[in-house]
């Protein structure tokens, strides 16, 4: 009992420490880094990725993986654009349709994985291709622009009377919600348990298939939410949107201490992981490092994070 209360999640802490050290280092190397404006700028860039990572994280907790989220961003964005801009439907209808389709894509992958026992990587690889293909077909090379200010509010507005963008607050609220669900609802415990030992969880009388399908559904839903924010920010929906986003989302989870083996990781760690990625990008930009080299540096960071995960597992 005594131990329990004092238990600190070190994986969380190590990501946080890395972030703090990074920020201090960058502030010294480039004073322009340390300004409220720049920090808000970083967080604004993070939101879409952080929301994506939130859903992917749930899937990874179960020991699965979802690489279809980037394509779902594009697909749901195009559908929403078509409905709102071309068909002239009200904004909420378009948004709702996007969320439903995103969730449905996830459910489809989930059913393939849980019921038909496909490998998560393969099932979501197929979904990645299908969703991207659907986006290309629907968009037919067009970029769909021209949204109402009401629609764009979530992507570009600030909280009235402050400099804090709405999207950051919205993202943080989502994180609080997920933190609560993963930590204080049965759902969260079951998700982790499936990642810890799927067979033991099933034999404890838990509907493993249902929770696995739900995990992928949530991942698809988060991709659709990310898509709404992205379209609102850019005032445009493109079939090429969200390209490679899934990799950044997975990297955020891993940098944040989530184990790809499942059963281990935290919601806040993932946010920290996403922020670390953008702090590095931002810092390298300020230091005038070319974008090609940036990719290389990020690769090294991801490698170090996975290495840390692997070392942690070995210690166990």
């Amino acid at each position: 009992m005594k131990l329990k209360e004092r238990k600190i999640d070190f994986s969380n802490m190590s990501a946080l420490i890395v972030l703090i050290v990074l920020c201090i280092g960058l502030s010294i190397a480039e004073p322009a880094f340390y300004s409220i404006g720049n920090l808000i700028n970083i967080l604004q860039q993070v939101t879409v990725y952080a929301v994506l990572a939130l859903g992917v994280n749930v899937v990874i907790f179960t020991g699965g993986i979802d690489i279809s989220v980037g394509s779902i961003v594009a697909f749901t964005g195009i559908v929403m654009g078509k409905l709102i801009v071309e068909c002239g439907l009200p904004d909420p209808v378009g948004i709702l349709a996007a969320l439903l389709i995103g969730a449905a894509c996830g459910t489809f992958s989930g059913v393939m994985i849980a019921k038909f026992k496909l490998q998560p990587m393969i099932a979501t690889l197929a979904m990645m291709s299908m969703a991207r293909g659907a986006a290309y077909t629907l968009a037919d090379g067009q970029t769909i622009t021209g949204y109402s200010d009401g629609f764009r509010w979530i992507g570009v507005a600030n909280i009235p009377g402050t400099r804090i963008p709405v999207q950051i607050v919205f993202m943080l609220l989502l994180y609080v919600l997920f933190y609560y669900v993963m930590k204080y609802r049965k759902f969260g415990r079951f998700i982790y348990s499936i990642g810890g030992n799927e067979e033991a969880t099933r034999l404890s009388g838990i509907d493993v298939d249902k929770y696995k399908i739900l995990a992928y559904t949530i991942s698809g839903l988060c991709a659709a939410i990310a898509s709404v924010i992205l379209v609102a920010k850019l005032n445009s929906a493109q079939s090429t949107a969200g390209l490679d986003y899934e990799m950044d989302a997975i990297a955020s989870c891993v940098i944040g201490g989530t184990s790809l083996l499942g059963g281990y990781g935290s919601v806040w760690g993932t946010l920290v992981g996403a922020i670390i990625m953008f702090v590095i990008r931002n810092g390298l930009n300020l230091l005038n490092v070319s974008s090609n080299l940036q990719k290389l540096v990020l690769g090294v960071v991801i490698l170090l994070a996975v290495l840390a995960d692997s070392l942690r597992n070995r210690k166990k």
Binding site: K183, Y184, K186, N197, E199, S204, G205
Partner: protein, 509 residues
Amino acid sequence: MEQEYIVQMEDITVRFPGVLALDKVRFDAKPGEVHVLLGENGAGKSTIMKVLAGVNTNYEGRIIYKGEEITVRSVEEQRARGVSIIFQEMNLLKNLTVAENMFLGRQPVTKTGSVDWKAMNRQARELLDSIDSNISEKAMVSTLSVGQMQMVEIAKALSFKCDIIIMDEPTSALTEKEVAALFRIIDKLKKEGVAIVYISHRLEEIAKVGDRLTVFRDGKYIDTVNVADVTIDQMVAMMVGREMTDYYPKADVEPGETLLEVRDIRRGNVLKGVSFHARAGEITGFYGLMGAGRTELMRVIFGADPCDSGEILVKGKPVQIHSCQKAKSLGLALLTEDRKSQGLILNFDLNQNISLANMDPAMTAFGFSPAKETKNNQRLADSINVKTPSLAQKAKNLSGGNQQKVVICKWLNTDSDIIIFDEPTRGIDVGAKAEIYKIMNSLKERGKAVVMVSSELAECIGVSDRIYVMHEGEMTGVIDDPKDFTEELVVGYATGAKNMNLSKGAEAG
């Protein structure tokens, strides 16, 4: 001059998080002897052998090997020195053949450097023949029974030129015939001057095969004696530090209504029309040899596996059980044979493991409460005496007996009426076994229907109120009155020599 001892280990101390696993213990081995290491689960037997074999290199103390003081650094190094270990847990790769497993990492090669399959299979065959095993060297390990895998492990250990062979519970999954074969091998090895370290809980076996005996208790060294000088009762007393009276306690309870009835369950050629019933306030025992289909039957009843046909009635009502959650909601519980891979989440703490089957006691209107969870689970853990510094301990850090108790806690938490124990005491020491029997008896007194699958004859006869016996997927016998429980009768049914489904005249006798 020959060294008297091959190995002497002195003042060995091993610490695990929160546990002092070994506290300055000693152990030695002479060539050509069987040195038995005895102790309850968690006494540290496997721990010290993992030190000797180089699996656990985090130890303090002195190890003198063939007269030289050594530091143990790795399994490979110890193997080169001549230490071979047969693990309690299976370490075979299921998707490779028997021969591939035996020569993993040291396959014979041809001149061109490719694997010499012929030579490998031939050598594997020779090793298997040397232990009188008829397992095919080309068989996929996944198709073998647990007992056969154990024989492969033994053959593999023999393939290394060794001075010491450590056998950690080698017989826990073997049939009697395989055990006899193992004892012949041990005799042969002794004559060749190999030292054998033998870890087992089966006391009759120890009396038969052992030369010297060392007892550990709670990570401490107790004594070393000649096996010939002690009785089995004295062994038990040394192990538990107290006299064991009434080893199989039996609560006197009048059986109540039939809670579970199973009719004509069929599944492929594994279950060939099995029927039985279990009543409240009764322990229904299931005996059989490996592969008799008992585990498979229980898995079907619990919804873990599908069946082709058959009927299940719970409390008199016909039910369809297609999933474990359905079984749980009907008041069934299954404690699986394999605790580590099916019963526990080893990397999770005890709290999470105990709450897994039922989180409701830990829930509040606002969601789940860690404080409430700990309180509820602590009560359960205390009620059956789980030994752990805290519920925040990870399940993998517990001894086998305590792990089993954690699984029991998990199901006590659901307050199920029909509780199926599949091999509840496999690999568990005498003291913890007695405690598990006590728990089963108290469940019986509380009016639960307890179903116990056991491969240990004495246990099955001692604990059960009624015994069903299975043989190759068929129910060959049922003995309703404990007065009729004899080893002869039970084994007769189990081997198929007797069969209640056949007429008297057809019995082979």
